[in-house]
């Protein structure tokens, strides 16, 4: 089979997947790897010694949340002593924003593919301020997580399992792109569409008024509420493109705060990694680039399937958050057509006359043109326990793609 035909098959798998949000479950119930003292994290594999501040912070927070350690020092000692095992979310059908840590007791969204095989998981979004995904682990961070996992999650599960069936995330993303979202850093519209579908169901199944009110306010006031289910939907789509013999399509891009890693459809489960860059962007008051951690998180799964920075022409208002001008937003999308294989049949951009978003990053084109994928991202403080300091733009190092293309040539005897 020719490379182009292999890529066509991979793209077809990616764009025909139809992710539906089915329910919410405890991570340990649905992700078998999450047994004794094992955590999942964002990005390619990494050991404690090489972890950046925000990932270490999230690991500490998860160890405290699970009761494995009684304070931060004890948690660090455990991790340093090898008493906690670490594996990438991506290797267990999961994705997590920023640090992306998933521990056994956390609630996860369950997203499945209505058009065939495939299920993926992601945690519930914590909102803004001091949050675990940015490496914060103060008592109030853990209190909020406990409320989310123990109280909000069962309510969401009951609402999602009501008779209407799950929530169609492909339709939700498509509509949100017509409402000024790009689906990665800007999920304002998507989060409201999510709330709209959940609110009447929540009213039907809620058993306590205070929980109901807090849940509706929590989901509504967090413009990233839908980011995590959207990421799981993207993971479902990306995984349908993975493992096609001969395909040069990129099926994962992910960062652990130290390394940027990619996987390629026709190259099995190998990660190609290089040092993660530091994003360029806008900083919150009191912070600057000196505070920034290198790029972190699995949320690049959005760009991998043709939204996020690839759909930025749909979201001109985003520039007030991540820097640049509306023209830059347009250019971001236009440039990504150069390195992709197709235009998305479901995700379209009104301002480009409803053209489909650029989708399916072709390793060959990235290397040939020297144009790397654009990524929108949040920026974490480089120290554990602080949190988000800004938002901006970043690109993976071109070396990753060069190394992958060499491996491809080797594997396929080209």
């Amino acid at each position: 089979m020719s490379i182009d035909r292999a890529n066509l098959e991979a793209i077809s798998g990616m764009t025909s997947a139809h992710p539906i949000l089915e329910t919410v479950r405890r991570a340990a119930e649905v992700i078998p790897a999450l047994g004794e003292r094992r955590l999942l994290h964002a990005g390619p594999p990494i050991e404690w010694e090489r972890m950046s501040g925000p990932l270490r912070g999230a690991v500490i927070g998860a160890a405290l949340l699970e009761g494995w350690a009684s304070d931060a020092g004890a948690a660090e000692q455990m991790a340093a002593a090898g008493e906690i095992a670490f594996e990438p979310c991506h290797q267990h059908a999961a994705v997590g924003p920023m640090a992306g840590v998933i521990s056994p007791s956390m609630a996860v969204y369950v997203v499945s593919n209505a058009a065939g095989e495939g299920t993926a998981y992601s945690t519930l979004n914590e909102g803004y301020g001091k949050v675990l995904r940015y490496g914060a682990y103060a008592p109030e961070v853990l209190d909020k997580l406990r409320w989310m996992n123990d109280e909000m999650a069962p309510l969401l599960a009951a609402a999602l399992e009501s008779e209407e069936g799950g929530i169609d995330l492909r339709a939700l993303i498509a509509e949100a792109l017509h409402m000024g979202d790009e689906g990665h850093n800007r999920n304002k519209a998507g989060s409201l569409l999510f709330l709209k579908q959940l609110a009447p169901r929540i009213a039907r199944v809620a058993t306590g008024r205070a929980l109901e009110e807090r849940t509706l306010a929590f989901l509504g006031d967090n413009a990233l509420s839908v980011l995590n289910p959207v990421m799981a939907a993207c993971k479902v789509m990306a995984d349908r493109a993975h493992g096609v013999e001969g395909s040069t399509l990129v099926t994962a891009m992910a960062r652990n705060g130290t390394d940027f890693g990619i996987r390629v459809s026709g190259l099995g489960d190998t990660w190609f990694t290089a040092p993660a860059a530091t994003p360029h962007g806008l900083y919150f008051p009191g912070f600057s680039a000196a505070d920034a951690n290198p790029d972190i998180g699995d949320s690049t799964i959005t760009e991998t399937v043709g939204i996020g920075a690839f759909a930025m022409a749909a979201a001109p208002a985003i520039v007030s958050f991540i820097s640049g001008t509306p023209r830059d937003a347009l250019d971001s999308t236009l440039e990504m057509y150069e390195i992709t294989s197709a235009e998305h049949p479901h995700f379209t951009i009104p301002a480009l006359d409803f053209r489909g978003t650029p989708v399916g990053i072709d390793l060959r084109k990235v290397v040939e043109l020297g144009v790397t994928p654009r990524v929108n991202t949040g920026i974490a403080h480089r120290e554990a326990g602080v949190g988000q300091v800004g938002a901006g733009l970043v690109r993976p190092p071109v070396e990753l793609f060069e190394a992958a293309l060499l491996a491809y040539a080797d594997r396929y005897n080209l």
Copy 2:
């Protein structure tokens, strides 16, 4: 005072008004004119004999709703015999979409100006399909209105009167323009922002689960839920520009289905009217331009204060509903800068580098350039009782503006 200075004062009143949705009340409680057998309607004044089909249909429906008549024939006879009095919404601090009929027992939103004087009213939006505002009056239309007025309205009133205070409609409109709305025909984002603010309050004050669930679904599933409070907000803004001696600013544009009427800031309460045109647009399956009623409704209050068709560059996705291309949407806004006096300080368009929307239609510029205001609109069937048949674009006749300018010259001895 020079005309320019007068217009500056009028524009300042319009753009500095700060409309807040305070509560919901029975129309008769807050609009003193709504006593015995009197109805308010959209557009300039009109008698029963000259009313178009959809306005007659809404009058019939209102007479049935109020119990003034037992069937449609009796209602028509009453109206024809002069037993029902008619006055424009606009003359009673109110606005209504399409037929715009307000009867005493209907619930109305109460919107007041946090930056000074001014209060305006609008009914609750009925959603799609067979609805009174499009002239339908079948039993299910009236049943839904009764539910809205008797059950949903008290719940909304309680939610709005909770301790957080009212809902800031100026902020809501500004945000919705960054989410692909133009605030007239497209209110998807605004309606979800409205739901987001109401949902937790509703959860707090609801006394029955079924009513709560139905209300959250009704508000969330209707992408025009927020149109009526937005129109009342626009009325508050427009009225702050009215009555400035010497000003040539247009402060009302409204249609009753037969005539298009305008009022001008410096020309008191006089209506200048001319026959309403029929909109150009897209028709629902089974309908064509032959079914269309001439332009109808007070919703042109949105264009009057710088949103709607004036902000269409913010809403490229709208063209799939009202016809045209995203480029036309951009051009619509750009053209309106030619006939307006200012750029809105609060309502901005990301795709135009966050330029303020064109606001404050200057009678002089309209006549000098021969460029009339653009209007986005729904299209009603020309017969009573049918409903909406499409959506599109329309402009008021230039004669209106010429007549008003002549009257201005006469009034100010120019």
